[in-house]
Structure formats: structure tokens, C-alpha cells
């Protein structure tokens, strides 16, 4: 008795088979489900159906409606996807063309190494202090137990501004400045530029140093060794060996040169370590009581250690740079490697 519904569905099935574009599908949708569509017509005509059949007939019409809606939906999604795919294919770009960006700049290798070393020491509780680069002879020499006419001054070729003003030859000049204004305990590092009146293949007139010192009661030479060992292990790796060798600095007593096992050949001997297996990396020692006296500390009460290193030297070893003059030529081809 509901043959008419079946034949609508049959016809729809035939027609939907031919739906290969969205426009046709839209027409089908209107034909069956639109305001004047076949199914809509059937729903409107429900009133003419005898009451005893109406319920079941109505059910049939609704099922047919749902059936058609679902199928159209499925086809619509499929057609949309395939049409979108077609469009996307036409929008193809050449992904192998280089992208557009501003390459990040590079921090100077000296700054990078300096920052790394500063991080190591600040993690140990040291804090950073600065001093002037144009410095009084007093802080650069005299307060460090190097009076005028002292032969130790020959160890450093000095640029003079006047008889009592120099370009600091080392960052050790910060020691007494800090001590004058603070009382122990002190844990200080002082990084910065230093100057030597010297220029050849292995020397440049300006370079960077980092001075470090610690002052308190009961600081020993063993502590100096321990702190420097931490530093060396953090910067050059935990397998790096450390060796202290007696030396002389007027402002430390005892004094030591610190060598590390060659980072290039691991101690077996190469041209960098001149076949000794060792590389000189720092000067250090226990702060000379004279320096404490200059700063107004009681040397019977306090002890302390101090050390100083050349940053370029560390950078050269870390990165394998073989010519110190490259640092301040500022060739892009050099700077952009770091």
C-alpha cells in the first residue's frame, strides 16, 4: 500500500548514482527535500490519508526522508572533499624554495665564553663586580704589592696615560677597590677588558680577563684548588686534569700557575701543548698579606685566594682557534661561527 514511497526511494537511488558534482546534488536535494520537494509533498499530504493508515504511512515517509537526507549528506561530504582536493592541487607551491627569515645574530665568542664562566662562578655564590679600565697606578700595581721600580712590573707591558694613571694590565686591579668598600666574607669575580703594550703573532694590545677572589677566615690553598677544579670540570669536561705549579705574582703568596691536561690531545702531546700534555690556563694563589694591609684588612685574621685567567685563551682552547688576532678583526666569517 506504500508503493509510492518505495518507488520514490528507488527513483532517488537511481538519481543519486549520477551525482558527480555539488550542483546536481543540490538540485536533487531540492527535488526531494525542498519546500516543493517530493518528500515534503508527501508530508503535506498526510492529512488525506485515512486515520487508521496515517500513523504507519507517516512513519514510512519520515524514514524515507531520513534515508534521503543521510545519503545526500554522505555524498555531499564526499563531493566536497574531492572538490577541495582538486582546488588544493591547483594551489601547489614549491616547498623546496628557501624560507624567509632573519637569521639570528651571534654573540661574540669572547662574550659567550665569558658568560659561561660567569655562570659557573655565580652558581658557586660569586658575584660580579666591575672596575674602571683606565685605572690608577695605585690599584693596578702599588696596592698589589708592586711599588714603582719593582722588577715585577716588567712582567706586564703597560700603557700609560700619565705617571699615575694606566690602562689596567689585569683585572686584579678590582681586588683592592672591592676590599676597600666591603668587608669579608667576599666572593667576587671581576670580568673585563685589560690592556698590554704588546702586539705580535701571539699578543694583542687588548684582551679580556676574569679575576676571581674569595676572602674569609680559614680559606686555604686546598679551597683554591677545589674551586678551580669545579670550574675546569664545568668548562672543559669532568675528565680534564688539573695541576698546580709554583710561580710568582707579587699579590699572591704562595702563587701558582694552573695547568690543565691538554684538551686537544688529552695529554698525549700535540703542537698546541708543545708536547707537554699540559696547557697553562690560570694564574692563582693565596692573597698576599700586603694586599690585605693595603685594603685595611687584618692579615692575621683573614685569608683568601685569588685567580685570574685570559678569556681569549679559554675560547681558543674551547673552539680550537689558532690565531688570537682573529678575535678583534671582526670578520663576519669568523663571528658567525659561534
Amino acid at each position: 500500500m506504500f508503493n509510492d514511497i518505495d518507488s520514490i526511494k528507488n527513483l532517488f537511488r537511481e538519481e543519486i548514482e549520477k551525482a558527480d558534482n555539488l550542483k546536481y546534488l543540490q538540485e536533487l536535494k531540492i527535488k526531494y527535500l525542498g519546500k516543493k520537494g517530493v518528500i515534503t509533498g508527501k508530508i503535506k499530504s498526510l492529512g488525506t490519508i485515512p486515520p487508521n493508515e496515517r500513523r504507519e504511512y507517516g512513519q514510512q515517509v519520515n524514514d524515507a526522508k531520513k534515508y534521503i537526507e543521510e545519503i545526500i549528506d554522505v555524498h555531499e561530504k564526499a563531493l566536497r572533499t574531492s572538490e577541495l582536493n582538486k582546488t588544493l592541487q591547483t594551489q601547489r607551491i614549491d616547498v623546496t624554495v628557501p624560507g624567509h627569515y632573519t637569521p639570528a645574530g651571534h654573540l661574540h665568542p669572547t662574550t659567550q665564553v665569558l658568560n659561561e664562566i660567569i655562570r659557573v662562578f655565580t652558581s658557586l655564590g660569586f658575584h660580579v663586580e666591575q672596575g674602571p679600565e683606565v685605572e690608577l697606578d695605585f690599584y693596578n700595581f702599588e696596592a698589589l704589592n708592586m711599588p714603582k721600580d719593582h722588577p715585577a712590573r716588567d712582567m706586564q707591558d703597560t700603557f700609560y696615560i700619565s705617571d699615575d694613571v694606566v690602562l689596567r694590565t689585569h683585572t686584579s686591579s678590582v681586588q683592592v677597590r672591592v676590599m676597600e668598600n666591603n668587608s669579608p666574607p667576599l666572593r667576587v669575580i671581576a670580568p673585563g677588558k685589560v690592556y698590554r703594550c704588546d702586539a705580535d703573532v701571539t699578543h694583542i694590545p687588548m684582551f679580556h680577563q676574569l679575576e676571581g677572589f674569595m676572602v674569609d677566615k680559614h680559606i686555604t690553598m686546598g679551597d683554591l684548588k677545589g674551586v678551580l677544579q669545579v670550574f675546569i670540570h664545568m668548562v672543559f669536561g669532568p675528565a680534564t686534569k688539573l695541576r698546580l705549579r709554583p710561580s710568582f705574582f707579587p699579590f699572591t703568596e704562595p702563587s701558582a700557575e694552573i695547568d690543565i691536561s691538554c684538551v686537544i690531545c688529552k695529554g698525549s702531546g700535540c703542537s698546541v701543548c708543545k708536547n707537554t700534555g699540559w696547557l697553562e690556563i690560570l694564574g692563582a694563589g693565596m692573597i698576599n698579606p700586603r694586599v690585605f694591609e693595603m685594603a685595611g684588612y687584618d692579615p692575621e685574621f683573614y685569608t683568601g685566594f685569588a685567580f685570574g685567567m685570559g678569556i681569549e685563551r679559554v675560547a681558543m682552547l674551547k673552539y680550537g682557534i689558532d690565531d688570537i688576532r682573529l678575535f678583534y678583526e671582526n670578520d663576519k666569517k669568523f663571528l658567525e661561527q659561534f
Binding site: 645574530g105 679600565e133 666574607p185 702586539a199 680559606i219 686546598g222 684548588k225 709554583p246 704562595p254 678583534y328
Partner: protein, 684 residues
């Protein structure tokens, strides 16, 4: 200092190979920097630190080796058999300047050439050979560390030697042929009439010993270190002798060395040795120093056995005795570096071996250190510059004074207050930088010459401004330099490079949370090295903090640079720390929608965008959220002296939804305002 392995072995009977001896010396503070093989010998190049002049000789190093290896030292002894007559009388004017002066004459010598072994030994130690008399004085100098001088006695007037200062300024010809101008306090050796030697530095040409000399006066003395150093520095005259005197020589060694040399001369050149003349102000009394065992332990960080400590000091020639909980030590006369207890502790630690000191970490009280705001600002700038593609350069802090002229900097500018270096390496590096710009321009030049096309560099370094005080004012300055890559690009952009660099600056300012920077174009505020139409000064609350612009073509010409260069300067980076505010406070996210209206106006070309923007903002107020300039247009159909500016204005209220009507009415009032105050036309 050079030292022969075989020679050292004559004094200490060790069985080490050269390499092992070198290692032992290095680890005791006498770094052997190189070993060269000559014949059957090894010549060590030993770095003698300035505190150890006593080791500037074979015997000095042997003493150390003897202490290091604990093998006895063979001492030099001299016994002069026959002594006849006396040499000239000696008068010493000031026994502070000359603490000891001893001499002997040797008469009737036949100075020929030295035997080969002696020549070889001197040559292997880098000393030029001469006649045998001079060679022998040099030999004893190398062997014993005591400088000696030989005069030709027949060239001296009178029978008198005096040691006194020049007294008046005078000229003196030294044996190297130089006629030297002496100041009045230079110490000299005089005969009865005239100066004959610069004391402790160099002899005179007129009294020089030669192979024809037959009568010799041999001098061995101890001069004051500071006086010799001053004279040597001021005369620029240095010798093996002055090198030792200015570091300090052994007063107890004076006569022994004299006798050793006299004996060798008599042996090798014949002649008769006279009796000794020895002017000695009094025996040297070394000081006694107390060292407590506790202090050794507390300074070194390990307890060193008391007997071991004593033995080390004994081996080093100290006289020691036990006293209470320590030792009283008397250093030998040649150890003038030993002044206080720490010096002796170093001696103990050094020979005990630094390698035996344990590595410990100190126990310290925690003390917080305040965050360093200045470092933080530098970090921010570094990060921001890196993101913008700029690489950091570091240049020498020097400047050529001429480059200030090249930059057209006026004579009254503070950058003219140069700190000049008295002894520069070159004249281009004769002063300290007062501006970073010349260095950066040199960096551009170098990289252009190497074929680079794009330059993005910056530097943060100190400049040094003369202050009238002893020390200059040191300011941390930042400067950046930019050259747009003009080669063909896949992603071309046509705008002026100025705007790229301005963007870089704006990125820094945004990260520093500085929002009120004013770009000032008043002519007298523009740096003299900038393009007058493409530059500005940066001001913050009326204070000039920097400058930005394209470099003036004439400046580029002066620095030999082809191509547009823009630059940015921040004059005082540390000074930014009180202009920034890193406190963050949250503002609620807008709840009500915005409305956008676009507008394009035609105004005179002279009117800066900033003025138009200010005009818009002043209209009202609290419902304009942002003004976004999205187009600047000149050219047809816009009249030549005008430009069109197109903005997008976004309106929003924080407490209600705006209606189209109220926005429209505000928007048209803005348009009206611009028409009257800026003489603007609406572009349709």
C-alpha cells in the same frame, strides 16, 4: 735564562735525564720553557720569576736542584796562592747606593782568545765572546750570578776609584759606542778625574778592556737595585749586569766571585793578582722570621709534618730552630725575597709539592647578592639584537684622534675630551675611544673588502670621556651599524634601510618596556655625521639617550665606504636602568567588541606621521584603542607637495559595546579636526 745541563751537573750529582730534570724544576717553580740540544749538552730555557734573582746563575739553579732532589751541592771555593801589591784606593760616596765594592788588579796579563770550552759555554748561553778577560767576567757572571767589570788599568787616571753619582747632567760614552746623556743622580764609577763606567749597567768606551790590555782592574760590587733600575730605564740601557742588579744580588757572593774571576784570569791569561780592596759598609744581617705550624696548615689546607717542613728549609739554606709551636727561620743572604712568614710557607709548600695539596671546597656563609639590573639590560639588548639578526663585534678601545675630524664632530663636543696614551703602539691607536662609531665603520670596511653584502653589527663597550679628574668618565655605550643587502633577493623589500634599523631599536625599547621614546628631528640635535634628512636623536623625557640615522655621504667617503649605512647609538646603556620598569601588572582582557574604521588623508609632505597620530589620539580619547598606519602614498593623483596617509583606527570601550552611530560621529569629528588643524583632505 739559559742553563746548560752539563754545567748544572758539575754542581749537583744527579742521575736524571734532561727531560726529567726539567720536569722536577718546572714543578718546583722554575719552568723550563724549552730544551735545545747542543753537542752533548742540553740547554734549558728557564723562566726565572722576578722574585728569584738568586737563581739567575748556574750555581743558583744548582742550589735549587740540590734542595729539590735532596742531593748535596758542590760549592765553589777559591784559594789565591800569590797576591802582590794593591790596587787603587776605593771611595764610596753613598753606601746605600753601593753596599759593597771590592776589587783586585791583575798585572801583566796576555789576553788572547779564550779556550774553546769557555767560548762554547758562553755561546750556548747566548753570550757573545770577546777577549779572554771579558769572557771570564761573563763566565763568572753566568756561573755565580755576580756581575763583574774589568777596566784597562792603564786607561784610568790616578790611583783612585770613586763610586758617586753624576752630580751634574753630563754626557758619557758607553762601550756600546753610544754617547748617553746622564741625569745628575745616575751612579757612576770614577777614576781620579772622570767617570769610567755606569755603575752596574755598562762600562765606558775609553776604559774598555781589549786584547792588548796588560793591566786589569777587576770590579765586583753590590749596587742598590732601585737606583740601577731607574738608571737603566731612563737611559734605556740594559745588560746582563743591570738585569741582575735591579732584581737584587747576593752581597755575600761579591768577593768569592771576584776571586774566582781573578784566579781564572791568572790561569788563562797569566798576570799577578793584587791584594783585595773591599769597601763594605757592614755585614748583611738577615732577619729572623717566626712561622707557626698552625699557620702552615691553615694556609695550605693540609698538615705538613714538622720534620718535613724543617728539612725543606734546611735544604734551601735556611738556618732554623724550633720555638714553641713553630720555627724561627733565617733565610740565606741571597734570598732577599723572603720577607715574612707566608714567603717561607710558600717555600715549604713548593718543595712539599703543590700536587699533594688536596682539593677542597670552602665552607662559606651564604650571602644573597642583589640582582644586577645593569647586567639584565645588557642581556636584553644582546637577546634583542640577536633576534634582529645583529652580531656582536668587539673592537680595541682605541681611536685615532683624526677620526673625530672625519666624523665632523665639533671641537666643543665632549667626545673631543680624549684620553691620550703616552706610549701607543701606533698613532691610529693613540687615544681611548669616545665613540664606538669609527671602529664599527672600520668593521664595515673590512667586511665589504672581503665581499660581504649585508652588514648587521653592534658593539656594547665603554667609551672614555676626559673629566678633568685623574680618571675619565667611563660610559657603557651601544652602537649598531647596518647595511641593507641590495643584491637581488627572493623576498625583496623596497623600503629605506633606516626603517629596518628603527625597527631594531623599537624592538629593544619594547623589551626594555620603554614606551615614550621621542624621535627628535630638530636640526641642532642631529649628529653631525648623519644625513640631515634621514636622522633623528632619541629623547626620553627630554633627555637625549641616543641617535639614529643614515650616515652622511661625506662621512662614508671619509671612511672609504660605498653604499648606504645606517647607524644607531645608545649613549649610556647603564643609564637606561633607571628609565625602565620591569614590574608587570595584569590588565583584564577586553570584554566588549571593537569597531574598525579606515581613513586616508592627504597632508603636506612636511607633516610627520607622529603629528597626525597625535592629532587623532587627542580627539578622543579613551575609546581609541589603536591607530595603525598601513599605507603612505605619494605620486599621482596626489599633488607633488603632499602625501596620502592611510590609517586603520580601532575603537573599543572597556565598559560597553559601542554603537556604530557613536563611532561614526567620533570618527567624523576626527576627520573634521584634521581638516582644520593639519589642513588635511580626505582621500576618497
Amino acid at each position: 735564562m739559559k742553563a746548560s745541563f752539563n754545567w748544572l751537573k758539575e754542581f749537583v750529582d744527579f742521575s736524571l735525564a734532561p727531560h726529567d730534570l726539567a720536569h722536577a724544576m718546572t714543578m718546583a717553580g722554575f719552568e723550563v720553557e724549552g730544551i735545545s740540544k747542543i753537542d752533548n749538552d742540553a740547554i734549558f730555557d728557564v723562566n726565572i720569576t722576578p722574585n728569584r734573582p738568586d737563581c739567575l746563575s748556574i750555581i743558583g739553579l744548582s742550589r735549587e736542584i740540590s734542595a729539590i732532589l735532596e742531593i748535596p751541592l758542590k760549592r765553589i771555593t777559591v784559594e789565591l796562592q800569590k797576591q802582590e801589591g794593591r790596587g787603587p784606593d776605593v771611595e764610596v760616596q753613598d753606601n746605600k747606593l753601593c753596599r759593597r765594592y771590592s776589587s783586585r788588579t791583575i798585572r801583566g796579563v796576555k789576553s788572547a782568545s779564550s779556550p774553546d770550552w769557555l767560548k762554547k759555554r758562553l755561546e750556548s748561553h747566548g753570550i757573545r765572546t770577546s777577549c779572554s778577560i771579558v769572557d771570564i767576567t761573563n763566565y763568572v757572571l753566568m756561573e755565580m750570578g755576580q756581575p763583574l767589570h774589568a777596566f784597562d788599568l792603564d786607561k784610568l787616571s790616578g790611583q783612585k776609584i770613586s763610586v758617586k753619582t753624576a752630580g751634574t747632567e753630563k754626557y758619557f760614552r758607553t762601550l756600546d759606542g753610544e754617547n748617553r746623556s746622564l741625569s745628575k743622580d745616575v751612579l757612576l764609577i770614577w777614576d781620579a778625574e772622570k767617570p769610567v763606567a755606569l755603575a752596574g749597567i755598562m762600562g765606558g768606551l775609553d776604559s774598555e778592556v781589549s786584547s792588548s790590555s796588560t793591566n786589569i782592574l777587576l770590579e765586583s760590587a753590590c749596587f742598590d737595585a732601585v737606583s740601577i733600575r731607574r738608571a737603566s730605564k731612563s737611559l734605556n740601557a740594559a745588560s746582563e749586569s743591570s738585569y741582575r742588579f735591579e732584581r737584587g744580588t747576593d752581597i755575600d757572593n761579591v768577593v768569592l766571585a771576584l776571586d774566582r774571576a781573578a784566579q781564572m784570569i791568572a790561569e788563562l791569561a797569566g798576570g799577578t793578582i793584587s791584594g783585595l780592596t773591599d769597601v763594605y759598609s757592614g755585614p748583611f744581617m738577615p732577619k729572623q722570621i717566626f712561622i707557626s705550624f698552625d699557620k702552615i696548615t691553615s694556609l695550605i689546607g693540609i698538615k705538613i709534618d714538622e720534620l718535613h717542613s724543617s728539612r725543606i728549609l734546611n735544604n734551601l739554606g735556611f738556618n732554623i730552630r724550633r720555638e714553641g709551636e713553630g720555627i724561627v727561620a733565617t733565610p740565606p743572604a741571597f734570598r732577599q725575597d723572603i720577607q715574612r712568614d707566608v714567603d717561607i710557607i710558600e717555600e715549604i709548600a713548593r718543595l712539599y709539592g703543590y700536587g699533594h695539596i688536596p682539593a677542597t671546597l670552602p665552607c662559606i656563609k651564604m650571602c644573597p647578592t642583589p640582582a644586577n639590573r645593569k647586567e639584565h639590560i645588557i642581556d636584553i639588548i644582546n637577546n634583542s639584537m640577536s633576534k634582529s639578526g645583529f652580531s656582536e663585534v668587539i673592537n680595541y678601545s682605541f681611536i685615532s684622534p683624526d677620526s673625530l675630524d672625519s666624523l665632523n664632530i665639533s671641537l666643543s663636543d665632549e667626545r673631543r675630551l680624549l684620553i691620550k696614551i703616552k706610549n701607543p703602539l701606533k698613532k691610529e691607536e693613540a687615544a681611548m675611544r669616545t665613540t664606538l662609531l669609527p671602529s664599527l665603520l672600520n668593521n664595515v670596511n673590512l667586511n665589504f673588502n672581503k665581499g660581504e653584502k649585508s652588514i648587521r653589527f653592534y658593539e656594547i663597550s665603554r667609551v672614555f670621556i676626559g673629566s678633568g679628574e685623574k680618571l675619565p668618565r667611563e660610559k657603557l655605550q651601544m652602537a649598531a651599524i647596518y647595511h641593507k643587502d641590495e643584491s637581488l633577493s627572493l623576498w625583496p623589500d623596497k623600503h629605506d634601510g633606516f626603517y629596518d634599523l628603527k625597527g631594531v631599536l623599537e624592538a629593544i625599547l619594547a623589551e626594555l618596556r620603554i614606551y615614550n621614546c621621542h624621535f627628535n628631528t630638530v636640526a641642532d640635535q642631529i649628529q653631525p655625521y648623519l644625513h640631515p634628512g634621514k636622522s633623528c636623536s632619541l629623547s626620553l623625557n627630554g633627555e637625549t639617550i641616543g641617535s639614529l640615522g643614515t650616515l652622511h655621504p661625506l662621512i662614508l667617503e671619509a671612511f672609504d665606504i660605498k653604499g648606504d649605512i645606517s647607524m644607531l647609538e645608545i649613549f649610556d646603556v647603564d643609564g637606561l636602568s633607571d628609565k625602565t620598569d620591569f614590574k608587570l601588572s595584569y590588565k583584564s582582557i577586553p570584554k566588549f567588541p571593537f569597531i574598525v574604521r579606515d581613513i586616508a588623508v592627504i597632508v603636506s609632505r612636511d607633516i610627520p606621521f607622529q603629528q597626525v597620530r597625535d592629532e587623532i589620539l587627542s580627539a578622543s580619547s579613551n575609546i581609541i584603542e589603536s591607530v595603525n598606519l598601513f599605507d603612505i602614498y605619494t605620486g599621482k593623483p596626489i599633488p607633488d607637495d603632499k602625501k596620502s596617509l592611510a590609517f586603520s583606527i580601532r575603537y573599543r570601550s572597556h565598559d560597553r559595546t559601542l554603537t556604530d552611530e557613536e563611532v561614526d560621529s567620533l570618527h567624523s569629528s576626527i576627520v573634521e579636526k584634521m581638516k582644520t588643524s593639519l589642513n588635511a583632505d580626505l582621500r576618497s
